[in-house]
């Protein structure tokens, strides 16, 4: 990286007198580069290097039982071919993760938006309730997973409530049947992250200038029209930011599922991350796992870039 090379010369900006500094103005870049250098180095060493290794590895048949990675046979696109054409477990995990993303995001968005709109009203205890409603997103994912694992036990409180409402016959074995296990994962995820949508959307709603809605009201818009014709379009970039950030997180979903179901029963709740984890750390198919990871990366990049174009504009604007 050029930054690293250039900033090696001792620029000594701190000790220069003002006049001297002015005369050598281009040097101003020096301090900026020195300041960003540690961050760049960390990123390069701890992210770029491993990713490059993984990328190389994904074209080999390497496994830790077979000696050094350098000696591993180069197999070209074989891993990728295998994944895309023959590995139904991988393809199912992809589809399952995408479906999970769509369902979770829709629910979280709808609930979060509904709550945020309610918070535009006046009522007592609003700031306290706001804090309390944010609590779930502050709980660590492993604990969330563990807590819901307890709640969904066959003799747990959720089944107790179901038995009370619909009779003892109606209580499911949450982790033994695929649709119920999936429901448990979705409920957990929605509980955990709806607050983030609520938070982001509420701050977005509060940022909509009052005068826009007042102008719409005076021009004759009913509350519903004010919301859909004025507030919602203004809110769109914020919505996009929330959707992109959350969809990236759901695609990576691991901790909660690991604690709740381990992907079970069978592979019924296995997400991509969980599958890759099992490939690499249970089956030691590291090269194959790396190939799967890169496929996921490309797919995610593609999906997110669809949503991202308007967002990056927003990100840049807010940085000015």
């Amino acid at each position: 990286m050029t930054a690293a090379v250039e900033s090696q010369e001792p620029t000594a900006v701190p000790t220069q007198r003002p006049a001297a500094r002015r005369a050598r103005r281009p040097r101003r870049l020096g301090l900026g580069r020195i300041l960003t250098l540690p961050g760049q180095m960390v990123s390069v060493i701890v992210l770029v290097v491993p990713l490059s290794v993984a990328f190389y590895m994904s074209f080999t048949d390497w496994s830790p039982t077979r000696g050094s990675l350098l000696d591993a046979a180069f197999v070209g696109l074989e891993n990728y071919w295998e994944l895309l054409v023959y590995d139904t477990r991988f393809i199912e995990a992809v589809i399952r993760t995408l479906a999970l993303t769509v369902v979770c995001l829709s629910l979280e968005f709808t609930l979060g938006l509904g709550l945020a709109v309610l918070f535009l009203r006046k009522f007592r205890g609003k700031s306290l309730l706001f804090s309390v409603l944010l609590t779930p997103m502050m709980v660590l994912p492993v604990v969330v997973g563990y807590t819901f694992w307890m709640l969904f036990q066959s003799n747990g409180p959720i089944n107790q409530i179901i038995a009370f409402l619909f009779g003892a016959d109606a209580t499911p074995e949450w982790f033994r049947e695929a649709p119920f296990a999936m429901t448990a994962v979705i409920v957990t995820e929605v509980w955990h992250w709806t607050p983030l949508f609520f938070l982001i959307l509420l701050s977005g709603l509060n940022a909509v200038p009052d005068n826009l809605t007042r102008a719409a009201v005076i021009l004759g818009a009913k509350p519903r029209q004010v919301f859909w014709r004025v507030i919602f379009p203004v809110l769109k970039p914020v919505i996009m930011v929330a959707l992109v950030i959350r969809s990236m997180e759901v695609i990576k979903l691991f901790d909660e599922v690991f604690m709740l179901t381990r992907g079970g029963p069978g592979t019924a709740t296995e997400t991509i991350s969980l599958y890759i984890y099992k490939l690499a750390f249970a089956d030691f198919q590291l090269a194959y796992g790396a190939a799967a990871a890169f496929l996921v990366l490309v797919g995610t990049l593609f999906l997110v870039s669809l949503l991202l174009t308007p967002v990056s504009e927003q990100l840049i604007k807010s940085r000015r």
């Binding site: 005068n211 005076i218 021009l219 004759g220 818009a221 014709r229 004025v230 769109k236």
Partner: protein, 373 residues
């Protein structure tokens, strides 16, 4: 076009908790008038505007448009237009969509909307940019979107909140002329809300000066300037504002004198209104430009010149008489020397007397005449 209305505020009051933002004001605005609601920020003018438009409900009092009360009527049914200070243009819609917003909400026929948009765009000079996004428009164009969007609804009364304050200085003059022009063509009752006296004077026929939730004077620009009805009006209008001096009346023989300690001004008899007795606390007001250099008998007061600031065609002198500090505005050729004493006079008609406690004017208002010429 609907008949031009008369807006009437009767004992209009608004409390926020324990704070009275608007304190029982009365105001009558004749049909076709252009009126400026002028006052510093926090004087209650925005609250008044919000109540007229319907964004706030009054605590008590009534608002009548054409003699009919609109209190309790939702904003969209009052037929009153408001142009916001920040224009509140919908940036996610094209100019055309902004203009047609009100009519589309009301589900008017497409053809009618199209015609109305073209007409209004022509009127406010936006025909060229109808399909642009507001993001690329200048601030004066944005303002015209705000105005056009409101005019298309054919409001019977149009309110503009600080219409010039967000414009660059060069644009202000142009916009002022355009607003004037628009008013001539449109011929409707307009109310400007502003904190800028220049804006008020240049845009409106009549000015309602507000402070602390009350209307201090509602009159022509000339009279509010020349014959302020309240010390607040005197101190708010003009730059530099009217000199206000606290003191009391003394009678020395036949001569009348306004004094505070050692400082004194000899007053002509006709300044004194009926029923004002000696010893009462008063405030005397003289505009800086009303002070004239005089000699001998004609002199009303003697002041020491403490500072002279040349301002091109004029000079501003800071003058001291006892505890009073006055400003005087003189022609550039006037001989003024810092540290020297100066004999000054002013015409009786240009001297104002206010009650010391309430700030209300004591000498009666004269009929319309240019107070400074």
């Amino acid at each position: 076009m609907t008949a031009a209305p008369k807006l009437e505020l009767r004992g209009l009051r608004k409390d926020f908790g324990g704070f009275t933002a608007v304190d029982s004001i009365d105001l009558e605005i004749e049909a076709g008038d252009t009126v400026a609601l002028l006052g510093p920020s926090g004087c209650g003018k925005s609250t008044t505007l919000n109540m007229i438009v319907g964004l706030e409900e009054p605590t008590s009092g009534d608002i009548l448009v054409d003699g009919r009360s609109v209190v309790g009527v939702p904003p969209q049914d009052r037929n009153i237009g408001l142009v916001f200070q920040d224009y509140a243009v919908f940036t996610h819609m094209s100019v055309r969509k902004n203009l047609s917003f009100g009519l589309e909400i009301r589900r008017r026929p497409r053809a009618e909307i199209g015609r109305a948009v073209d007409e209004v765009a022509e009127l406010v000079g936006l025909s060229e940019v109808l399909d642009e996004s507001p993001r690329v428009l200048s601030s004066s164009q944005l303002q015209r979107v705000g105005i056009g969007r409101t005019l298309i609804m054919k409001p019977s009364l149009l309110l503009l909140d600080e219409p010039l304050s967000n414009l660059e200085t060069e644009l202000r003059t142009a916009m002022r002329q355009q607003l004037r022009q628009l008013q001539l063509e449109y011929g409707q009752t307009l109310i400007y809300v502003t904190h800028d006296q220049i804006e008020a004077i240049s845009l409106a026929n009549k000015i309602a000066v507000m402070s602390m939730g009350a209307i201090r004077q509602f009159d022509s620009a000339d009279r509010t300037y020349g014959q302020p009805a309240h010390t607040f009006v005197a101190s708010f209008l003009g730059s530099p504002p009217m000199n206000l001096m606290e003191g009391e009346l003394r009678r020395e023989g036949r001569a009348l004198c306004f004094a505070n300690g050692s400082a004194a001004i000899a007053l002509p008899q006709e300044v004194l209104p009926h029923g004002v007795e000696e010893g009462r606390d008063l405030v005397l007001g003289i505009r800086p430009e009303s002070l004239q250099v005089a000699a001998g008998e004609a002199a009303m007061l003697e002041a020491r010149v403490t500072l002279v600031e040349p301002m091109g065609p004029e000079k501003i002198a800071t003058l001291r008489i006892g505890n009073w500090e006055l400003k005087g505005l003189f022609a550039a050729g006037t001989r003024l020397v810092e540290g020297e004493f100066l004999s000054l006079t002013a015409q009786a008609t240009q001297i104002c007397l206010f009650d010391g406690a309430s700030g209300v004017r004591l000498n009666p208002l004269r009929p319309e005449e240019p107070a400074w010429a």
